[in-house]
């Protein structure tokens, strides 16, 4: 899959992950790079963008042994935005799927 294509979706995936639980940056990076083939470092600018858009906030939590970790948490606005983006995305792939299937029917 080409890179430009993935970038838009990653934001949605990050929101989905943060909707389930609060994570620190490395957590998000690890989780996503297991599922999608992206450069490890790209998650951090995305988290920062989500934060400056007000979709996530951060808080520090003192980890046992080691410096405090910065956790990311979905805001109320973030939750709303996620649900809207999710249904938009699902509609979109549904349409694409139908279109591709029609296409393959014609070929047969």
């Amino acid at each position: 899959m080409n890179n430009q294509y993935k970038k838009g979706v990653i934001e949605l995936c990050v929101l989905s992950l943060l909707g389930r639980r609060d994570c620190y940056g490395y957590d998000v990076s690890e989780y996503l790079s297991e599922l999608i083939d992206i450069a490890d470092g790209t998650v951090y600018p995305i988290l920062r963008k989500l934060k400056s858009d007000g979709l996530v906030t951060t808080y520090l939590s003192e980890a046992s042994g080691g410096p405090p970790r910065k956790y990311y948490k979905l805001t109320d606005l973030g939750k709303e935005e996620y649900l809207a983006a999710k249904s938009e995305w699902l509609d979109f792939i549904h349409t694409v799927e139908r279109l591709l299937k029609e296409d393959s029917n014609e070929q047969n």
Binding site: G25, A39, T42, P45, R48, K49, L60, K70
Partner: protein, 239 residues
């Protein structure tokens, strides 16, 4: 590219693009490195998987636009906090005033108690009464002294915790306005360990009981020995 090279390169590109909070960003990548190193990857492997520093810096720059607004928020928050601080300082001065009052009560009670026990009439302030009555009253005064010491301890612990909680809140408001991460809020009531709390409670109960019993017994003993309910008139205390 090793860790230092990667971080230096990223820092250079970020500052060229005038991205804010560069130290914060670098710290996050540094943490990523240390997590990966702990998993046994080499610095070169990690840096290679991280992506191109220049592209990453550009992505940060693109995410930047809205953070500018946070600056003015921060100035506003600082002014607001300045006013809040003035009022809160007044409340803390009042609370310390309460501690001083309790300290004065303690000193007065102890002094009165000892004067009564040893029959010292300091400055002619201790009214005359039979020695038996004086002893009972002395016990009540000493119990009152213990009670006010306990109250003072609670008060000081409360003030300390309240001060900490306010400090944390103060810091968080600034952090929030500046778009920085916040720490969890602190409790406003003191977190006394269970052993000390039990001890304080026991001392309070005992001294309160002794005070109440001593106070009532003092009145009864005085009234009986003077043969009058208003014994202070019989003994001419206020003449």
């Amino acid at each position: 590219m090793n860790k230092t090279e990667f971080l230096n390169e990223l820092e250079k590109k970020l500052s060229a693009l005038k991205v804010a909070d560069i130290a914060d960003i670098i710290a996050e990548y540094e943490q990523h490195f240390s997590f990966k190193l702990a998993d046994g990857y080499s610095e070169e492997e990690i840096a290679a998987k991280m992506g191109n520093p220049e592209e990453l810096a550009q992505q940060f720059a693109a995410a930047e636009t809205k953070t500018r607004k946070a600056r003015s928020n921060k100035a506003l928050a600082a002014v607001g906090l300045g006013f809040a601080d003035i009022f809160v300082a007044a409340v803390f001065i009042l609370l310390y005033g309460l501690v001083i009052v309790l300290a004065a009560l303690t000193i007065a009670s102890v002094t009165t108690g000892f004067c009564l026990i040893f029959g010292i009439d300091g400055f002619g302030l201790i009214p005359p009464m039979p020695y038996g009555c004086a002893l009972v009253n002395a016990v009540a005064f000493l119990a009152l002294a213990v009670l006010s010491v306990v109250a003072m301890i609670y008060c000081l612990l409360y003030i300390r915790q309240l001060g900490r909680a306010y400090g944390r809140w103060h810091k968080n408001v600034l952090a929030l306005a500046g778009g920085k991460p916040i720490y969890p809020a602190l409790a406003t009531h003191p977190q006394i360990n269970p052993k000390l709390r039990r001890r304080l409670r026991r001392v309070t109960l005992i001294s309160l009981t002794v005070f109440a019993v001593g106070f009532i017994a003092g009145y009864i003993v005085c009234a009986l020995s003077a043969g009058s309910l208003g014994y202070w008139h019989t003994w001419n205390w206020f003449v």
